[in-house]
């Protein structure tokens, strides 16, 4: 083992060395990319669409491409460049591919987005490139082989290394990363490949950002920080204001705790002289296992005022809706959830075990009663996994900080956005009529998409479960039919440009939709005119008389008015929009150290009788093209800190699965009578009632906060 080798180099060896130098140095054998010099940022007022009273811009800030390991594993080959082309309205192809490498599916948005941001996982960014590109020297390494599902001849030792290699995302501390990139000999390779992906991400954003006076499409440079310690989701999308971005994306391995992430983002972005600005957007708190909004440090100490302020500054928004369900609220008796039937909407984990004998077999235990994390197939759950509960917690947390320190801010004072989280590089693909699924070959057919309890459909899972059966629980994507078509982020901004949109996101003048394009606006204040809804200058007067959604009401003892206006989605030429049913206002408040919530119907008609024929998907009954009201809280108490947000509901329509099931059944000449006789039928979920057949699309405004006035 300790041989000292004298290497004799003859002329021929020299010849080969000289010949192969360019290849060895990576000059020729690796893809290279140079950063495109960004153009000058668009000044406010320079766009044709500039409007001081702001317009709503629809976008998606959560999309994965072939640069994400969990996308390319399923044959997603579209890169960030293709994602932006799709967002701008181009048709793109999707896997699976036939034997000649041709795609078998194409998809296209009926209406382009106004803005988008690609958010590939910072973790394993290099590995996604190394393991799926034949030019890489590590392509045939055991780790990469397993990543591709080619487990032939893989030893149990390799398998253990692989499990440990992915495990870091789930291991607290994040300092545990045995993969091809933990090997010192691959350090340079991994750095080059990570840089390649990060520079390509920036170049794609630069290339597709419309810097002309038309300002038709805006891109944001970003990535996803994907810490999942103990299988509890803490994921955040990190986005930058413009092309001033750090040298490399900070992953969970660089910053294994959210507080460390914020500190390092400050260090590498906010506190530099480059003009870099950043925000982090948490998502899927519904899978957080009580950890996403737990106001404690890594050591379990409660937040200090400084940390609370840092969180509020760094995380002004939260993603309330996406493919993996809604995170707004869960319908369950207090203290477990919200006693609100409208919370029964697109929930991945549908009910909490309360200890009552009426608990269902599939209920999820509270995390305090469980050792499991928050996997999709039935881990643990906490009320604070839901944003409504966390908004209430924020009120209590602010009170605690003020009581203990004399000052302090609400760390959970966030506005809302929706997005997709799709792994097909198809931002904004939320159309229930043509939803192509969440990720590549995993759900490329109707049968797979509606599959109940389907696990990852690739050889990798099969091999993993052979060696470690528990891995199935951890890696399963659960009930794919429970996935939604995803949501959209809407930002009220003066113009469609990076700075204008980013500044509005910082101000939380945003709202979320479940994929529809409802237009929703809310102003609040004690000077709001009672007849504002009839005023053609609704927006200008709304700003002059009050504050917009996402803001704090000025300190006052007066009962504020809430002017809420909603316009139905105009739809498209092929698919007209759906009329509105009603507007609700959700209130949460703190009283004597306890928090409460209440929902008010403030406009429209919840009993309008509208319904949908699920056999034909034709809608029945009328709704409203627009709704507007000026509302006062009948129980307003100036001494109680509170928040208010609006929720706008459309009439019910067919959910994506119902539309696709109807088509598949018709094509195959089947009825539910035929299918119900066979429990193993691939379309069983189309008929057995396990999936909802209708959906009530909606929009959620960012909240408005009232601070206690004494």
């Amino acid at each position: 083992m300790n041989n000292v080798n004298l290497v004799v180099i003859n002329i021929r060896t020299w010849f080969y060395i000289l010949l192969s130098l360019p290849l060895m140095s990576g000059c020729f054998s690796e893809p290279t990319v140079e950063l495109i010099t960004p153009g000058p940022e668009i000044a406010l007022g320079a766009c044709n669409n500039f409007d001081a009273n702001k317009n709503p811009y629809f976008g998606d800030l959560h999309t994965h491409t072939s640069f994400s390991l969990d996308a390319i594993q399923f044959d997603t080959k579209n890169d960030p460049n293709m994602a932006y082309r799709f967002a701008k309205g181009e048709a793109i192809s999707l896997p699976p591919f036939d034997k000649d490498g041709n795609s078998t599916r194409t998809t296209q948005l009926e209406r382009p987005l106004d803005f988008a941001g690609v958010s590939d996982h910072a973790e394993f960014l290099a590995e996604a490139n190394i393991c799926f590109n034949l030019d890489s020297t590590q392509y045939f390494s055991p780790f990469c082989g397993i990543m591709r599902g080619s487990t032939e001849g893989t030893s149990p030792l390799d398998m253990v290394a692989f499990i440990l290699g992915l495990g870091p995302l789930a291991v607290p501390g994040g300092n545990f990363k045995p993969s091809v990139c933990s090997h010192s000999k691959n350090k340079a390779l991994c750095e080059r490949r990570e840089a390649y992906a990060w520079v390509s991400t920036q170049n794609a954003a630069e290339k597709h950002y419309d810097r002309s006076e038309n300002c038709e499409f805006t891109t944001f440079i970003g990535y996803e920080w994907s810490g999942t310690p103990s299988i509890k989701n803490k994921h955040r999308n990190v986005f930058f204001k413009d092309s001033n971005v750090p040298q490399r994306p900070l992953s969970y391995f660089d910053a294994p705790h959210p507080i460390e992430l914020w500190e390092k983002l400050d260090e590498n972005c906010t506190n530099t002289t480059s003009g870099c600005e950043v925000l982090a957007i948490p998502h899927n708190s519904n899978l957080g296992g009580g950890e996403m909004f737990n106001p404690v440090t890594e050591n379990g100490a409660p937040y200090t005022p400084a940390i609370a302020a840092q969180r509020a500054r760094m995380e002004p928004l939260v993603e309330i809706y996406q493919h993996k369900g809604a995170s707004e609220c869960i319908n369950s008796q207090a203290p477990f959830g919200s006693s609100d039937e409208m919370c029964d909407f697109e929930l991945i984990i549908s009910d909490i075990c309360t200890g009552d004998e009426t608990d269902s077999d599939t209920c999820s235990p509270l995390c305090s009663d469980s050792v499991l994390g928050a996997s999709l197939t039935g881990g643990c759950i906490e009320p604070s996994d839901f944003i409504r509960s966390t908004l209430k917690r924020g009120l209590a947390e602010e009170s605690r900080l003020i009581e203990e320190n004399g000052f302090g801010s609400n760390p959970f004072q966030f506005g809302f956005i929706g997005s997709t989280d799709n792994h097909n590089a198809t931002p904004g693909a939320t159309d229930e009529f043509s939803w192509e699924g969440h990720v590549g070959t995993n759900d490329d057919t109707v049968e797979e998409r509606v599959g109940v309890a389907a696990a990852l459909n690739n050889p990798l899972t099969d091999k993993l479960t052979e060696h470690l059966p528990a891995i199935e629980e951890l890696t399963s994507l659960g009930n794919l039919g429970a996935y939604s078509a995803g949501g959209l982020a809407v930002v009220w901004a003066e113009q469609n440009s990076r700075h204008a949109i980013f500044d509005s996101m910082k101000k939380k003048e945003t709202y979320a939709t479940s994929g529809t394009r409802i237009v929703l606006r809310m102003f609040a204040g004690d000077q709001i005119a009672e007849d504002l809804c009839a005023d053609p200058d609704f927006a200008a007067k709304g700003y002059s008389q009050g504050i917009a959604m996402g803001s704090k009401l000025p300190s006052s003892t007066q009962n504020p008015a809430f002017a809420v206006s909603a316009l139905m989605d105009a739809g498209t030429q092929l698919h007209p929009g759906t009329p509105l049913q009603r507007i609700q206002i959700v209130k949460g408040w703190e009283e004597n150290g306890e928090t409460h919530e209440k929902v008010f119907d403030v406009a429209g008609n919840p009993n309008n009788g509208a319904s949908v024929n699920t056999e034909t998907c034709e809608t029945v009954g009328s709704g409203f093209s627009n709704l507007c009201t000026v509302w006062h809280d009948p129980e307003f108490n100036a001494a109680q800190p509170a928040f208010y947000y609006a929720k706008v509901l459309e009439n019910p329509t067919c959910r994506w699965n119902q539309r696709q099931c109807n088509i598949s059944k018709n094509e195959q000449g089947l009825t539910c009578t035929d299918i119900n006789g066979d429990a193993e039928h691939p379309l069983a979920a189309c008929c057995n009632g396990t999936l909802p057949s209708t959906v009530q699309e909606r929009a959620w405004s960012s909240p408005v906060w009232h601070r206690a006035s004494l």
Binding site: M1, F28, L134
Partner: protein
Amino acid sequence: MKHLASSSSIQFIVIGALLFGLNNFVQSSSSQEREQDSIVIKQRFIDDLFNNKINKPSLVGNAETKSAITQKEIEQEALYREALKYNLDKGDQIIRRHLIQKMDFVLNSKSQPSSPPTDEEQYQWWQQHQENYRTAQRISFHHVYLKPKKRTDSNKLSTQRISSQLDSNTLAPADAYQLGDPFLNGHYFQKKTFLQINNLLGKSTATHLKATNKNEWFGPIKSQHGYHWVYLEEKQQERTLPYENVTSKVYQDLQEHRVAIAKRAKLDTLVSSYNVTYEE
């Protein structure tokens, strides 16, 4: 020449050179054989390999595991060498694809232009590819909106009132929105494409706007949202963007084109060096 060949000193030099050459050849061959037949394992390599495979502190120093990993690496290297001897790399589709991809990178790299395109070349490119630098038709218009009422007769009265007020031209187009209801998507739309109008105001409004004359009110147009009157202020025809506005895109497009042309030529030259025959 004959005299030179018979010179003992020249004979000595020639014979010496031949012997030196032969010696080198023999040494080179045997050295090559030795290289081919030996597998050299360096301590550093083993350490790295071990750390790569096992990153669990409790297993560090586990001699048995270390030995197993090392043995496996030796076996794999031996198998690899044998496979080469048996020419097993020939005809392997994965290796073939790997090498094709590497060669593609080589061609890409060799096809990069040595100098950037001149201004004249870029301008010429823009002139020859104007279809790539065209903008869609855009219009700017004012908009009055009326929210639909439940009663049909009420709608009729309201639309008649607005229509007659607009016909009387008492209000400037920019102020006319005050006759109607608030509309969340706004009352003035600047340089919008018809697709954008469709998204904002619905299909029927977009369709009617296409046929509307400039500087006059048109309406009411019924949509999902209610009733609309539109005043077309500006119609910007589809046009080619001036060269000055698209220089960076022209530069990128031309560079991509030059790389593609150079690569094509290299590939053609490469292919032409082979005799291609077609067999049944």
